[in-house]
Symmetry: C2
Subunit: 446 residues, 2 copies
Amino acid sequence: MRLLRLSLVGLLLGLAFVRPAGAKVFDAASFTLPNGLTVVVVENHRAPVVTQMIWYRVGAADEVAGKSGLAHFLEHLMFKGTETAKAGEFSAVVAENGGTENAFTSRDYTGYWQTVAKDRLETVMRYEADRMQHIVLTDDVVYPERDVIVEERRQRIDANPSSQLDEAMMAALFQNHRYGVPIIGWQHEMEGLTTADALAFYRKWYGPDNAILVIGGDVTVDEVKPLVEKYYGPLVPVGVPAERVRVLEPPPTAARTVTLKSPQVAEPQWYRAYLLPHRKDLAEGDLEALQLLSEILGGSATSRLYKSLVVDQGLATSAGAYDRSDALDYPTFHLAAAPRQGVELATVEQAMQAEIDKLVQGGVTEEELRLAKDRLQASAVFARDEPSTGPHVIGAAMATGETLEHIQSWPERVEAVTVEQVNALLREFLKPERSVTGYLLPQEPS
Amino acid sequence: MRLLRLSLVGLLLGLAFVRPAGAKVFDAASFTLPNGLTVVVVENHRAPVVTQMIWYRVGAADEVAGKSGLAHFLEHLMFKGTETAKAGEFSAVVAENGGTENAFTSRDYTGYWQTVAKDRLETVMRYEADRMQHIVLTDDVVYPERDVIVEERRQRIDANPSSQLDEAMMAALFQNHRYGVPIIGWQHEMEGLTTADALAFYRKWYGPDNAILVIGGDVTVDEVKPLVEKYYGPLVPVGVPAERVRVLEPPPTAARTVTLKSPQVAEPQWYRAYLLPHRKDLAEGDLEALQLLSEILGGSATSRLYKSLVVDQGLATSAGAYDRSDALDYPTFHLAAAPRQGVELATVEQAMQAEIDKLVQGGVTEEELRLAKDRLQASAVFARDEPSTGPHVIGAAMATGETLEHIQSWPERVEAVTVEQVNALLREFLKPERSVTGYLLPQEPS
């Protein structure tokens, strides 16, 4: 399976989330076609390569009841050919030209990209524009691919207890919103997806007015614009609502736990997830405060949790924190720890809880915040070196409703966060009733 | 609020679920009108009264995402008048004639009933048939009533920690199916329900082909039939699908807990809910085996849990079990216990778990099963004395897909259950990963 998919599972397994980086980092410009396609060009002239990324403002959380996995299924089917291109032809052309490609489905967006030599941009653009509105799906292609995604689920989730636990934790954390449904889908629903389902989803959501095209690399706006107009210009808007309407969570009232025991588990693990308020209900700067809090608690070997549990107390082999501040709807905050051999999971939990309690009571310090800001801002500078980072960060942010200007001002917004803001935020959301705690345990022989 | 609604909350609070009772108990006959209305007449000549109950095969679990509470809201709005009857007129007529009435919304059905003197049947039938298809809803009536249901939610759920806990437990138990959504609705969604929502729901689900009319009491089929034909006969079928398609649960993988702390809690309580397989995946007799298991564990003061925890060990003031074998989709099995003052909740939990472990290992005995069968069958005989029980039991069962013949054969099916069947069932479903455990705790002053 050559397709990478971003998901909470990946994050739990340690895949780093790339921070948005600001105006001083990316040399980005944007324009919009008359059919509604948003185009962003991120110049980067370090190497004669170019990345084309197309982002659709639709993800797994836009699926309807009973059709889980459909967004990801369609992502697979986008490689199955169009009225003028055979199944697999686009991928073969990318490979023959020495390029790389990938695709991913998240809760909030679906994306496709290719990185090729600069002079092959027109080729990949022709294919990408073509499959935005002209795919052809027949049962003989769709149903074998359905077997592929079901098998993918078996390997990624069912054969992986930590992924199973994550799935159960998210289902417990979200009582109403579809963030509680796995991106890959519930198996029994995946098995019932049809060709008609895929085509209906495609026709509803895939079109220039619901997409963001990001071109990054050794190109200029003047070079890109005529190509974009030529290939994407003729596509027809699908009339997607400007705002994606999703259901809301009820106010959380009760702390929850989820315990998964499996013979496949060698070492126990401890996890916790906190639900934050809907992004629309957060104050200016709250998301940046959340990112800084993650950094302070878990971003490095000098962070609070690692220092306390791993270095000072010697209870854990790992202890960290991260956030999902990139959510269109509900951001979440996550903690994780693995006990050292011979240490009880309950001991590690108590030590983690003690750190949380200390944090809620005492708050973070000016010094911690300063260092965290420096580290985050250094990551933004670092992001410049990787040509695909800019398109990725910008695409993900714009696909979840941010403007280019907002992305550009990220370093300034991080800088503006105060100790009081971080402390107010953590006191508000690090409450037991906002949390689900997960225990991954070896199954004792019965 | 004079309307009674059946819900899990009620059951948790100790409201007894009325068992279906069999052929030897109810003298029931049925016929169907050409427009699809199923009519059941349950003769009972002990008193010159008659009960009319109309059951719609639609409940809260038929609502779509974002519209929770709509089935119950419509139930309220059914009292707001029709093209020919003023708001409240039907209720006033019932009261003026010395009758009683009520209505209820469950996950799977919605019902309305009146009990009146025998000679007033035609009057209430005229009104009930009228409001099946001719209600009139205007904003000036709908929105004040929406305030009423929101206030009802505040009183029933938000002011009641055990109801809040139940809500959170059900949301954790059901990861996909709408049994995880409260019947009364999530407040933020109730507040967004509109007149158009109510009318669309009404027009989709309320019609003779989606209803069961049960007439019980001092009447005969020959007396009832002309009246039914006169009043219900002219109604137009709405074309509801014969089978209600609802989403399925993924296989449960992880044991869950839910902890609710509130300053309103005086005494801690312990609860557990187990998810059973979908009713279609259960074997013949499994539901009756489940009912017998509830009886053995928790049906009386001589039942296992009460005897062990309350009488023998003196740890609890109550300890019981019950089932929701009446579900259209997923039956559930429930345990509950309250510690005696000074006893830790964890001690009670351990004692309950010890009883479950003993049960799973040793099974139930022939003697226990014999006594439980006798008690269930006695309850069926007892049900005869109450004129409204027959219509209620029959209506609820038929509204969840049972045939009259199947209801009639309940005593025989209970009698046929074997010890092996009960033990196989409990070993299959009393597994940690099928369960949610709930803790209701006083909030310590902070």
